[in-house]
Amino acid sequence: METVYDPVDGLVKLGLASLLMVVLILLSRVRNLGIDRELSVAVVRAVVQLMIVVLIIAAVFQSQNLFFVLLILAGMQGIAAATSAKRASEVKDPFRITLPSIASGTFVIMGVMILVGVMPLEAEFLIPIGSMVTGAAMVTCSLSLDRFMREMTTNRLRVETALSLGATWSEAVEPYTRQGIRASLIPSIDRLKTLGIVVLPGAMAGMIIGGVNPVWAAEYQLIIFFMIVGAELISAYIATLLAQKTVSLY
């Protein structure tokens, strides 16, 4: 059964959900938690941003112009890379690391899925799935860089010792790039392990609410998860590979 969208009903429901946020903001103010101002700004930003994005996406869906789809995905890569770069402040020229890492993770995985015919070349699929994959690649990129840089600081003497014993630079730092990749993928691997048991997948729930057959929803959820993990792995690998070329011991 396909759900028909009723704009009035939708706005009433959104208003009721917003009331919940207002109550939470008021509670945090009464309890003096110090997050009421930030939470208010975040809620307003979320509503405005999402509405603007929805208008753009609706227009792109209607046009079905792949150039606009690509433009939107490219914009996502830029914003994700800038966000991740802010986190990786100890890395030299972080944007030059985060942009290729996130973009390669996203586009390689999406490209493969399109080529093998799993993902249709349609705006309705490319934009939402692209955003999920980009977001996941961004988080992994930040986590892998953060862990790698911390490992390099902690193990500076070990890297120096390995170099003194005849290791090349990549051999000397390899255990720490590995740590960076591994640590950044732990949340995803744990999420995969508990998929459907502890973690109720958001996309699948959304599809079922939207009236899609649950089996089909589960299939798509798995496809999305595999794409996310693939993009994360590529992103973390490229990020640590590029980062190890920019760091030095002295």
Binding site: L157, R158, E160, T161, A162, L163, S164, L165, G166, A167, T168, E171, L249, Y250
Partner: protein, 228 residues
Amino acid sequence: MIDPASPAAALEVTHLAKSFDGEAILRDVSFSVGRGELLVLRGESGTGKSVLLKCITRLIEPDAGTVRIFGTDSTTLDGVEVRRRVLLVGQVPTLFEGTVRENLEYPFSFKSNQHLPPPDSLSLLAMVGLSADLLGRNAAPLSVGQQQRLCIARALALDPGILLFDEPTAALDPAAKGVVEETILRLNREQGRAILMVTHNVEQVRRMGVRTLTLTQGMVTETGGDAG
């Protein structure tokens, strides 16, 4: 290509200079270490002793000057090759996870060392005065003195032409200091290894009684007594 049979000095440093952010750490350093010689380079903290050793091993690239290893200009060699021939043992004993044996074998996991014969772990431990019983034991709980001797044994496993020691006893208690000093002297006297050791400790210089240079304000300013 390094030729250990060359008649040249084991290590020859000429007009070496290095600055960091405009501050000259090494200004004009020249000295040589003969074949089979143990040379001590003394200097207060912050005089550039460690930087000098890292420039010699090309962990840090010098701004000017030359380093010759058995007569070969080190800039004509790959940095990895330089470090295999001129092996630096650091101030803080630095070991890797695993047993004593795994630590001795660790350098052989690197491509540049894979053509070398596998280490004779028992002989290496004997060379530095460590018991063969330690071989299968986890390296982490060893005393700092034992760890430093294990680091020396690991360096010897690669049979380097020249050994560099950066304040090798600075982290040790007096008893362990004596053992490590004795180990270094024995490696020089019994095996004829060329060794350059840096230290800030005047007493240690006296105890070791070998040719000594002093590094002050980034320059070798004085040649000490040769009790050698």
